[in-house]
Amino acid sequence: MENTSHEHTLSYKGLSFILFLLLVLTGITVAISRVDLGIFRIWAALAIASLKAAFVLLFFMHIIQAGKRVTITFITTILILAMFIGFTFFDIAYR
């Protein structure tokens, strides 16, 4: 590939494929919202949203290529956010 940069990134073709996947996932999440899944409906929506966000982070934002420091600090941020959400729900659910 004629990429002059030392960083390994996706070509236009690869980026187009990721866009295609993101659009398909958007279609799936809209379709699933029409099916009665009960409480799993919100979890299905959030799971697809997380998958879409992961695609954007990995292939559009090149988080891995940004280095270990970014990867570790990003995961730490998400864990802190998860703790924040988790502890809030401990309070609400067992009040």
Binding site: L10, Y12, T26, A45, F60, M61, V70, T73
Partner: protein
Amino acid sequence: MSEHHVDNTGSKFGMWLFLYSELMLFGGLFVLYAAYYYQYTTFFISGGKQLDLFLGTMNTVILLLSSFTVACSIEAMRKNSKKLVLLLLGLTVFFGILFLCNKYIEWNHKFQHGIYPGSAYMEQSAKGLVIFFGLYFTMTGLHALHLLIGLIVIGVCFFLCWSDRINAKDFITLDNSGLYWHLIDVIWIFLFPLFYLIL
């Protein structure tokens, strides 16, 4: 050009640190949403039904396309295709404006039906519904504000590329601006199902 020290690694890491603070800002609002959803589930579902699913889905597609054009513009910059970079950044700005136009149509429609914080209609509505629309206007409004700032940032990048101040040798400004634009997309990826698909 005068010689100046450029620290791309530091610059990029600084941008990521800023993005973490943005994640925390929206994260706090998501916690608020989740806590109230737990308490007022039925009102959140009836509120979600009043939102325009078509416009919401269109805006999701528009933002995904704009993220794609930004990612391609950075790839084009690596390959030193200036014309393509300018075209892709122009398209990104176009998609951003389209998103805001849709938001305007959507909010305008809500205002006409008396749905806005503090309206007479809202004051008579149930507390759960007032909270749902309060969160809807706050979260999508804050997101739209970020998008507006993103538009200015991408617009500035366009002119810097045009005047060769961003070029194939030094495009960290474009790279970091792209990261900001993608973050706006990531936030919308979560806002979309929480407001438009909770049916």
